[in-house]
């Protein structure tokens, strides 16, 4: 069950006195073979859970790094069916590692909500993070996803005040994702104090694990955020490695995935709270 995998993941990390490490990559970036190699190797490198981005042409909450990754993937022919195929391969190889799909609603809307949820469940996807579906639009996808046992992971931001927090956590499941800055992916980083305060604030409203993302690039950042949060997500820093290892022909250097794994291993060293 999807929710069990997520629950077990956070419980295990807690028992080991460390923050769970989540790694984000864009599916199909820069091509499906490289992206699949990367996806399948992330758990061995140290990822406790994986967020697989479903590329969209107009990612309005993403910074330049993930925008470029999305466009590379689309250009290389990624489709939602191919994303789900990657998810199936991941599930076959890693029966216990939570896999979350993250993206924007339009591709799912066009694919068909029910058809998508069935296919994602079959592929072994555990949860969804939808950037442009706030609680006000829960009837679009959240309610059906939750009914099918899929976690609907809510984004909480620095602008989410006391009045709004109950609305945001109401239909949340799996875990909640704290966007630590008012900004786009890959931009600035929040201070340790502000993360600590936010975690205390969030825990006053929900018992779900809370992870922190946005602006986290180095093991030191992981260590700092991981002292307070149940998990930490790194995206742009990993995706940047792909961009940095592309040839002039747009083809990834053969050791691209290995370089990304090295970063993940390094990030993992920051997760311990001991």
């Amino acid at each position: 069950m999807a929710l069990d995998r997520i629950e077990t993941c956070f419980a295990t990390c807690k028992a080991e006195q460390r923050a769970a490490l989540g790694i984000f990559i864009s599916a199909g970036d820069p091509d499906q073979a490289t992206s699949t190699e990367l996806l399948l190797g992330l758990p061995e490198a140290g990822a406790d859970f994986v967020e697989l981005g479903m590329p969209f042409s107009d990612p309005m909450a993403d910074g330049p790094v993930i925008q470029a990754a999305s466009l590379r993937a689309i250009k290389a022919g990624i489709t939602l069916d191919k994303v789900l195929d990657m998810a199936s391969q991941f599930r076959a190889k890693h029966p216990h590692v939570p896999l979350i799909l993250m993206g924007y609603f339009n591709p799912i809307y066009i694919y068909g909500v029910d058809r998508f949820l069935d296919a994602a469940t079959d592929a072994g996807v555990d949860g969804l993070i939808m950037v442009d579906l706030p609680p006000e639009e829960d009837t679009e996808l959240c309610v059906s996803a939750t009914n099918k046992g899929m976690a609907f992971i809510r984004l909480i931001t620095p602008t989410t005040d006391d009045k709004r927090m109950p609305v945001v956590v109401k239909n949340a499941s799996g875990f909640v994702y704290y966007v630590s800055i008012t900004g786009i992916t890959g931009s600035g980083r929040a201070s340790a104090d502000s993360i600590a305060n936010a975690m205390t604030h969030i825990r006053g409203f929900t018992g779900l694990p809370a992870v922190v993302g946005f602006g986290i690039k180095h093991p030191d950042h992981v260590r700092e955020a991981g002292q307070h949060a149940d998990g930490v997500v790194v995206g742009s820093a990993v995706v940047s490695i792909i961009a940095d290892n592309l040839g002039d022909d747009g083809i990834a250097a053969p050791d691209t995935a290995e370089k990304a794994f090295a970063l993940v291993r390094d990030l993992r060293t920051g997760t311990s709270r001991l």
């Binding site: 969209f56 042409s57 107009d58 990612p59 309005m60 909450a61 993403d62 910074g63 330049p64 925008q67 466009l71 689309i74 489709t79 939602l80 924007y104 609603f105 339009n106 591709p107 799912i108 809307y109 066009i110 694919y111 950037v131 442009d132 579906l133 706030p134 006000e136 639009e137 809510r154 984004l155 909480i156 931001t157 620095p158 602008t159 989410t160 005040d161 709004r164 945001v168 966007v179 008012t182 900004g183 786009i184 931009s187």
Partner: protein
């Protein structure tokens, strides 16, 4: 609720910001509290006589409203059918209808205590209007404009700079209006607490589509009263061009319940809808979610947004305001289209016959009118929205007209 109100087409959207299935609030959580604040402030302003008085003051003394309703006698004779009236919103300060909305939103921002403004722009008309209002009220203005449009519309970029705005050329994506809107939204996400985003068309997350429509409805309200004074009756048809569709909704909305008035929205067919190079979201797209709302969009089978194309930078957008999508589905408005070449032809003809150089956008409306007005009776009346003046387009249009031997 009495029957008339219950059946009115002018009561949209519902409390969720939906026009049928269209509209809504599809935005990142960071923006939700802000959007709810904008909605609350807007609702409050609607019943505040002080706000109404302030709007009225600036409309009259700054924009120059009411804009005239002009009987286009020579074009009427040329077409040989119904009488053609033009609502002269190109005579507004800054040369287009955009200022009607900008002034309303800027006053709302002021009321909310915001002194920093974000705007996106395609042709630059909304950017110029925003820069103008910011100069007027002493606000900071950040305008996002596709890098390609910055090149194409240099005079407007210069105007914005002179007015004190900062113009950000947008190179992400394809560097056009949709990318400018993405970038403006990203900037807003980053500066959510301090900035007010003035969206330029009747699209985006609720309450923008309804709010922009309300600020633009002054066009239709005036036109209705002016035509009543001139002819003592309602028009038989009203026509406006559509990119996002704010000038069109401004004209249409006050007429929606007048069942005998035929309404036509003219999309940009670019090189022809069948070529795929066009900006006709209703005639060539399907419903999807972009920029905070569900509406008809140009997109592929995977839900990836396609680039729009039109010779007119103001119509060059892959979406359309959600209220238009609803009006299309219920059949109240007829959405038609005109191609680049047709718009160019009537750009020139209107200039020669009426001494009015239309913007390329309303030239599309005239091009459609040319296909139907000749078949109407001489005592019938058509009103079109001359929503902008064409000075900005001379650089793009003149070389083509010269090449075609039409100068």
């Amino acid at each position: 609720m009495n029957e008339q109100l219950a059946n009115s087409l002018r009561n949209q959207p519902d409390e969720h910001g939906k026009f049928g299935i269209h509209g809504g609030r599809f935005v990142a959580e960071t923006l939700m509290p802000l959007i709810l604040q904008v909605e609350a402030a807007w609702k409050e302003s609607k019943t505040d006589p002080e706000f109404a008085a302030e709007m009225e003051y600036y409309r009259k003394h700054y924009i120059g409203r009411p804009s005239p309703l002009f009987f286009a006698k020579r074009l009427t004779e040329y077409f040989g059918g119904a009488k053609l009236y033009m609502k002269r919103d190109e005579l507004n300060h800054t040369g287009a209808h955009k200022i009607n909305n900008v002034l309303g939103q800027a006053l709302l921002a002021k009321r909310m205590g915001k002194t920093k403004i974000i705007a996106e722009t395609g042709a630059g008309q909304h950017g110029v209007a925003s820069a103008t209002a910011c100069a007027l009220f002493g606000m900071e203005c950040e305008v996002f404009m596709g890098a390609e449009d910055v090149e194409r519309q240099k005079p407007n970029v210069d105007r914005m700079r002179l007015l004190g705005a900062k113009v950000h050329p947008v190179t992400s994506g394809t560097g056009t209006l949709k990318d400018a809107m993405n970038e403006a939204l990203r900037y807003w996400v980053t500066n959510a607490e301090t900035h007010f985003y003035i969206i330029g068309t009747a699209a985006g997350p609720h309450p923008y589509p309804a709010m922009v429509r309300d600020f633009q409805s002054v066009i239709g309200i005036e036109a209705k009263a002016q035509l009543h004074e001139a002819e003592g009756r309602l028009p038989d048809a009203i026509v406006a061009c559509i990119g996002g569709g704010s000038n069109a909704l401004g004209l249409f909305h006050p007429f929606l319940d007048d069942k005998d008035v035929a309404i036509y929205g003219v999309e940009a067919a670019g090189h022809g809808i069948e070529t795929g190079e066009h900006a006709a979201s209703l005639n060539g797209g399907r419903p999807g979610i972009l920029h905070g709302n569900r509406t008809y969009l140009l997109q592929d089978d995977e839900g990836q947004i396609k680039d729009a194309y039109s010779i007119s930078a103001g119509l060059d957008y892959p979406g359309i305001g959600p209220e238009h999508s609803w009006l299309h589905e219920i059949g109240r408005v007829n959405y038609v289209s005109a191609m680049d070449q047709e718009a160019l032809e009537y750009f020139a003809l209107c200039s020669r016959l009426e001494g009015i150089i239309p913007a390329l956008e309303p030239a599309h409306a005239i091009a459609f009118i040319a296909t139907m007005i000749g078949d109407m009776d001489k005592d019938q009346i058509v009103v079109m929205n001359m929503c902008g003046r064409g000075d900005k387009d001379l650089g793009a249009v003149l070389p083509i007209l010269e090449k075609q031997g039409k100068l």
